[in-house]
């Protein structure tokens, strides 16, 4: 009772709350979590990419006020090479560099390196581009490369003149600056074979260390694998003193056959570290250094003797016994197969063996996220496959064909992963094994690569023109032709239906036809003066013309029937007389057995014609 009272007393308030609740919820949703609010919030959020871009120091793109050009060293012996180096503070891509430099007679200039580095000045980056040429002369003398201009940011920049003094052997010269040394342990390689290239920068003074940055290997048809790069400092003894060398090692892979010339270049700090340590922020100079070219001879991989399962592995590899997670499994249950390959060569870039499609197994390769550098550092790579048996009759895992090329033996080596015995039990769940067995393997797709077709040996389908038939002039006419056929059929059917409802038309038409035939016979009898034939023909014509007026067979008509069709005047006149004569003559010819020569001509032919015309007019 109390409850009821309380409900009653709270009735209006509760009703208002019920009505207001949806509005309150809507308002709360709109203010807090509506899509519009979220969109507005996201619009106010700064794009992280923009933040990253804005955090980068700006690059100075003002045209350089001056450029530097100098020979390093400025004095060389005859036949020795000096580096002609030109530097200017501009982006490399903004500089329009001439193909040929103004070169004095007797001095040869050969391009050897070009590069760009950024130097931080306060909160900005100053681009610094350098062009190196190798200068050499066989004659002593002083050679001067004259002043010339280049374009930077669309404006002319003057490159100052530089002078090189070439002196005979035995004359003291200035020491040359640092030159890089490119060392290749192997210069006779196969395409795709990796080799470690070593760039050495020897210090110019004992116990001095110089930095080297942006080291690059330049060559046509090579791939530099930057995933494996090492830098270290080594001590080198020689010439009565110990010097420190900066070593930069990286992996080089030749991609094409033939002779490939490779050079190394890098920017070295112009200030050696044996002096006072430079304070942070102090502008430091960078000098582009390069190496002498090294030529490597690259041979293509032999086609002869290539084994199944070759995926580009070049080196010397071995495989551990393959590991199967379990050798007792059920149809449809995946099992993992692990294959470990060890060795030396392009291990970091080794492609996994591709299994052949089989109806007994569905094979998926698992992606490995191990970096090439880590693979090379630990000395092995692991390939994992998920195998799903599709039949309980399966007794072993599939063999995975695999091989590599051993450059030392110049031969392909088979490393096929052997089959492992397994016991496959029927699946506990019903399974569409056919669907699994014939499912397209993603690895099989990867193998197929479309190529251009061969020549077609036969012309195949020919045509008179490429223009579609439907666009030619005659096509609409051909399409309209059936219309006329159908129209003709329709007209014929309509006429037939009309004749079916008016059969007398056909009877009269038939009578006229018979009448025409009888008339022809009558005329023939008249020509031949054959009285019997004339009587019979005249009678047949008369009956045929009169029959449509009676529902009777023409042969059943008698003279009275024909006379009944005539008017009284005609019956009494010549026409009636002709009718009677013809019937009488016919009866006489038929029944009179006493007269020998047959009947006489019963009537004049003109009368018979008149009679027939009269009867025909009535049809």
């Amino acid at each position: 009772m109390n409850i009821r009272n309380s409900k009653l007393s709270a009735g209006p308030a509760a009703t208002s709350a019920v009505y207001l609740l949806p509005f309150a919820l809507l308002l709360g949703w709109a203010l807090t979590g509506s899509p519009l609010t979220v969109a507005a919030q996201s619009a106010n959020t700064t794009d992280p990419l923009m933040v990253l871009m804005q955090s980068q120091p700006p690059i100075i793109t003002a045209p350089p006020k001056q450029a530097l050009a100098a020979f390093d060293p400025p004095i060389v012996h005859v036949g020795e090479e000096a580096t002609y180096r030109i530097t200017l503070d501009a982006l490399l891509d903004s500089i329009t560099w001439p193909e040929q430099l103004p070169t004095p007679n007797g001095l040869s200039l050969r391009p050897s390196a070009r590069g760009q580095i950024f130097r931080q000045i306060g909160a900005t980056l100053q681009p610094h581009s350098a062009f190196n040429y190798r200068a050499r002369s066989e004659q002593p003398g002083t050679y001067s490369v004259p002043e010339f201009t280049v374009q930077a940011y669309g404006q002319k920049v003057t490159i100052p003149a530089a002078r090189l003094e070439v002196v005979p052997a035995g004359v003291t010269t200035t020491p040359a600056g640092t030159r890089l040394q490119l060392e290749m342990p192997l210069t006779n390689l196969f395409a795709g074979q990796s080799v470690t290239a070593r760039v050495r920068q020897s210090a110019t003074e004992p116990a001095a260390i110089q930095g080297l940055t942006q080291v690059e290997l330049i060559g046509d048809g090579i791939l530099v694998d930057r995933s494996f790069t090492q830098q270290r400092i080594e001590g080198t003894s020689g010439k009565g003193s110990n010097r420190l060398s900066f070593i930069h090692e990286t992996t080089l892979i030749p991609l094409r056959a033939g002779n490939i010339t490779v050079t190394a270049q890098g920017f070295e700090s112009a200030s050696p570290f044996n002096g006072p340590i430079a304070l942070p922020g102090e502008p430091a100079g960078f000098r582009l250094a390069d190496s002498d070219p090294v030529t490597i001879r690259v041979r293509p991989l032999p086609k002869e003797g290539e084994l199944p399962g070759f995926t580009g592995g070049i080196g010397h590899f071995t495989i551990d016994p393959p590991l199967l997670a379990t050798n007792v499994l059920r149809v449809g249950e995946p099992v993992q197969l692990t294959v470990t390959v060890r060795g030396q060569g392009n291990l970091g870039r080794l492609m996994r063996p591709v299994p052949n499609p089989t109806s007994e197994w569905q094979i998926f390769s698992e992606n490995s996220e191990t970096s090439p550098a880590l693979i090379r550092a630990r000395g092995f790579v692991t390939f994992r496959y998920s195998l799903i048996p599709t039949s309980a009759a399966t007794r072993a895992t599939p063999r995975l064909p695999f091989s590599f090329f051993d450059p030392a033996r110049v031969a392909y080596v088979d490393l096929t992963i052997p089959a492992l015995r397994v016991t496959v039990k029927p699946s506990a769940q019903p399974m569409d094994t056919q669907a699994v067995a014939f499912a397209e393997s993603p690895m099989a797709d990867a193998v197929e690569e479309p190529a251009l077709s061969e020549l077609a040996t036969h012309p195949g389908i020919t045509a008179t023109s490429l223009v579609p038939m439907a666009l030619r002039e005659w096509f609409p006419l051909v399409q309209v032709t059936p219309v006329f056929g159908f129209l003709g059929l329709w007209a014929w059917d309509r006429r037939r239906r009309y004749l079916e409802t008016h059969p007398d038309i056909l009877v009269r038409r038939r009578a006229r036809r018979v009448l025409r035939q009888a008339r022809r016979a009558l005329r023939a009898a008249m020509r031949d003066a054959d009285a019997i034939k004339l009587v019979n023909s005249g009678l047949a014509a008369m009956r045929a013309a009169a029959a449509p007026h009676f529902p009777a067979e023409p042969r059943a008509l008698v003279g009275a029937d024909v006379l009944a069709l005539l008017t009284d005047q005609e019956r009494q006149g010549k026409i009636g007389e002709t009718v009677r004569q013809l019937f009488a003559a016919a009866d006489a010819a038929r029944f009179d057995t006493h007269s020998a020569g047959g009947p006489d001509l019963p009537a004049a032919p003109a009368d018979i014609e008149r009679l027939l015309n009269r009867l025909e007019a009535m049809l």
């Binding site: 020549l455 045509a463 223009v467």
Partner: protein, 254 residues
């Protein structure tokens, strides 16, 4: 009327003379094209195959012409030839594969087809026309003839008529698609400039690579209006080749 013997002799001599003095037969041109291709003379091979298709267009000759042009470095001409091969014979798998490979290598897009143009590629354009015509008139005939000829009432004419009518209706979009596909063409030759107006001094909108597809429209003088996926403008007529050569109306020759 009795024709004199000299008349037949003259006709025979005329026939022999025309066959001996005229161009070689298509089969002979086809054979020459194949021989030159196999000998590595792709330019001459392209010439023979070109003469062959000019006399008698055939799917195989267009396919081989495309291969010869491709070996010559004529990407646009090769793509046009393969498209025409597939136009004549949609079941020519080799031509379609060549188009895929060539477009992958040359970084070119295939023409974007409308929904009704896609089924039009399943059969040749003439097959669609025949299918539409025959199915329509067969349906009309099967509807009208039983009444006209007073055939006994049966279900099969009605079923066949319904099938024919359905075939006709289903073939209509494909026929329209085949007609609209005839407007597709491809850029041939390097340096094709799409211009704002059909004049030599007009501003260049963009440059098109050989083999790029477009849909041709109005022809004005030496220029044809081309609409590509990226832009539209006027292109020199000699730099745009339709799949189906379009007859030029007299007023378009200016």
């Amino acid at each position: 009327m009795r024709l004199p013997g000299n008349f037949f002799l003259a006709v025979a001599l005329l026939g022999i003379g025309s066959s001996a003095g005229g161009a070689p037969a298509p089969d002979e041109l086809y054979r020459r094209g194949m021989e030159n291709y196999q000998a590595g003379d792709f330019a001459l091979s392209a010439k023979w195959f070109g003469d062959c298709v000019a006399q008698q267009p055939s799917s195989g000759a267009w396919q081989n012409l495309g291969l010869a042009e491709w070996q010559n470095g004529q990407v646009g001409e090769a793509i046009v030839a393969w498209e025409r091969s597939a136009w004549l014979d949609p079941a020519n798998h080799a031509a379609r594969t060549n188009l895929l490979v060539a477009r992958k290598i040359a970084q070119l897009e295939a023409p974007v087809l409308a929904w009704n143009e896609i089924p039009s590629t399943w059969l040749s354009v003439n097959a669609w026309a025949w299918l539409g015509g025959v199915s329509l008139w067969a349906a009309v005939g099967l509807i009208t003839l039983p009444g006209l000829l007073r055939w006994p009432r049966a279900t099969w004419p009605q079923a066949l008529a319904a099938t024919g009518l359905a075939l006709f209706l289903l073939s209509l979009p494909a026929q329209i698609g085949a007609h609209s596909r005839a407007r597709i063409g491809f850029v041939i030759g390097p340096g094709a400039a799409l211009r704002l107006s059909p004049t030599q001094d007009a501003e260049t909108v963009m440059r098109l690579a050989p083999g790029e597809p477009g849909r041709g429209g109005e022809i004005r003088g030496k220029y044809v209006f081309v609409r590509t996926e990226r832009s539209a403008g006027w292109l020199a007529r000699e730099q745009f080749e339709f799949i189906c050569p379009r007859p030029v109306r007299p007023r378009e020759i200016l």
